[in-house]
């Protein structure tokens, strides 16, 4: 059944949108990523103009993240205190990132830089996670299911001042590292134009040593604010949020997120990390190919304001 989208000004199949939303929703619930890095290119592919695709995917991400968040809240897998601290850092980082982005824009070739950034970050994070979680999985099996050797709890993170207790995460650390992590992801999100879930999740696991299950819920919590602000800014300045498109995507998305959360709850943390690593690596591979392979059409059209 075809539906005409008032802002995108194209007609697309309703069930295709429900399916797309559902698929990304499942990933969102499972891994705590918003899925913008997946849904935006898919929307381009079905003929939605880029500006509308970017803005509307932010709107759909709010819905699937809220849906996933509620499911995780019931399992007490959300560290609200940590989430707010990360958000605080994120706001500062996004501001800095905007300045950086505008500076890069003046130098030219910003889109190439963004693409290279993507490939490098996705590649690095994906491979590190893959190797780490694979060895963790092996260790768990090799030890005959016995307890995994406890991480070394002393480090730079623990010598910093302003310590705070994060009960849900089981951490007693300084507020400075989470704030810096939030800020760094904020800078990257502003430059790369993504919510940053796929950077935030590994950062919380490996830099802040939070438990994987808590990371997913907390990531969803912090994504909601980022996606909300993004949606608002796009709607007010570019008028590019398509409510009709968002509605079909998010109906699929909220249902998918519930299913994803249930799948995630049944899996081991190492398995989840391996799957996320593979997902990140495949997106990286696809982006890398796009840069290197000759495009089908070397010309592109852009609207001039």
């Amino acid at each position: 059944m075809q539906i005409y989208l008032p802002i995108a000004e194209v007609s697309v199949n309703m069930f295709l949108l429900l399916g797309l939303g559902g698929m990304v929703g499942v990933l969102s619930g499972m891994f705590g990523v918003g899925g913008g890095f997946l849904i935006t290119p898919l929307l381009f592919f079905i003929g939605i103009p880029p500006t509308v695709a970017v803005a509307t995917s932010a709107n759909q991400i709010i819905a699937s993240s809220v849906s996933g968040l509620f499911a995780h809240l019931k399992r007490r897998n959300v560290d609200l205190r940590m989430g707010m601290l990360l958000q605080g850092g994120g706001v500062v980082g996004a501001g800095l990132g905007m300045v950086l982005f505008n500076w890069l824009k003046q130098l030219g070739h910003v889109d190439l830089l963004v693409n290279l950034c993507y490939v490098v970050f996705l590649g690095a994070i994906g491979s590190l996670m893959f190797v780490e979680s694979l060895s963790a999985l092996r260790r768990a099996r090799g030890g005959g299911g016995g307890p995994v050797k406890k991480r070394k709890q002393r480090g730079l993170v623990h010598t910093l001042p302003m310590k705070m207790r994060f009960r849900t995460s089981g951490l007693y650390i300084s507020v400075i590292p989470p704030f810096l992590v939030g800020a760094a992801v904020g800078v990257l999100s502003a430059v790369m134009g993504v919510g940053g879930g796929f950077i935030m999740v590994p950062a919380m696991i490996y830099l802040l040593h939070m438990p994987t299950k808590v990371v997913i819920g907390t990531s969803l919590f912090q994504i909601i604010l980022v996606a909300g602000v993004t949606t608002f800014l796009h709607a007010v300045t570019n008028h590019s949020v398509d409510i009709a498109l968002a509605l079909f995507l998010l109906i699929g998305g909220v249902v998918g997120a519930q299913i994803g959360t249930r799948i995630g709850a049944k899996m081991k943390a190492e398995q989840l990390r391996i799957l996320l690593a593979l997902l990140v690596l495949s997106v990286c591979f696809k982006l890398g190919l796009d840069l290197v392979l000759p495009p089908a059409e070397v010309y592109t059209l852009t609207e001039v304001q």
Binding site: M1, D111, T231, V241, A246, L250, V254, V292, Y299, L301
Partner: protein, 272 residues
């Protein structure tokens, strides 16, 4: 209601055609015999407004009309060209180039005036019926309808960019070259249909009919079609432009509500 208007127009056309030969002798007696008698074009459309509704999935417009003459048709046969042009807009065409193994956007050409939709329908191959100078003057063929091309000094092959624009838009059904699709009966009645894609840009479209003879335009007629969203589509579009903040809050509210709603529904299902 389109039907009554359509049949009224047909009746009018029929009357005009019947009246033409009858009126002939009387006029000849009074007026000085003119050089080639003016041929006037009369035009009808299946709809003068295309309404884009929530289930709009492309449409088709039927264009028909007649050549009204005060004399018998001239010995030299004429042909008909019909163009449908959407609102013009500026557009940038970018070309990717391989640099250090990576495909990046390199050259760019800006076209100040490109029709957002353009269809040319003819009763015979365009090349055979229209001379290059007349095409240039009336801007009939697709490349001629695209105007004001500007680029930096480093671009030497602007034509390739214009060709790319035409190719991309032809693939999307936005530019159409429809040669020999106009039925032209007894040098008098003509009709054609132009398919409109679902990604039809909104705005005021102009429909032009050209009667061509000997490679040049003998007579023209222009009319307009309005393409616009209606109902919910129009309401949402207007809201997004005029009440940006309200629209943004509505979008966010729907998203949060849907997320919460789904989680509650799943919880209820689980508890049963």
């Amino acid at each position: 209601m389109r039907l009554p208007r359509l049949s009224a127009l047909r009746a009018l056309l029929a009357a005009a055609l019947l009246a033409a030969p009858v009126a002939l002798p009387a006029q000849e007696a009074e007026e000085v015999p003119a050089l080639p008698a003016p041929e006037e074009l009369v035009l009808g459309l299946s709809q003068n407004r295309v309404a884009i509704t929530a289930n709009f999935d492309g449409s088709e417009i039927l264009i028909f009309g007649a050549v009204k003459r005060d004399t018998a048709p001239l010995a030299e046969p004429a042909d008909v060209i019909i163009t449908v042009a959407g609102p013009t807009e500026p557009i940038a065409v970018q070309r990717k180039e391989r640099r250090a193994g990576i495909w990046v956007n390199a050259d760019q050409v800006t076209i100040r005036q490109a029709p957002s939709f353009y269809a040319v329908a003819t009763s015979a191959p365009l090349e055979d019926i229209l001379s290059a100078t007349e095409d240039l003057r009336h801007r009939i063929s697709i490349p001629r309808a695209i105007r004001s091309i500007t680029s930096g000094d480093e671009v030497t092959d602007e034509d390739a960019f214009v060709e790319a624009l035409v190719r991309i838009r032809q693939r999307a059904g936005l530019y159409q070259m429809r040669e020999e699709t106009v039925g032209f009966d007894r040098q008098t009645l003509f009709r054609t249909s132009v398919p409109l894609p679902s990604s039809l840009p909104t705005g005021v479209y102009s429909v032009n009919v050209y009667l061509v003879r000997d490679g040049s335009v003998a007579s023209t007629h222009e009319t307009a079609i309005r393409v616009g969203k209606v109902g919910l589509e129009q309401w949402l579009y207007a809201l997004s432009r005029e009440q940006g903040v309200l629209y943004a809050l509505l979008a966010i509210f729907i998203a949060i509500f849907a997320g919460w709603g789904a989680s509650e529904i799943f919880r209820l299902l689980r508890n049963q």
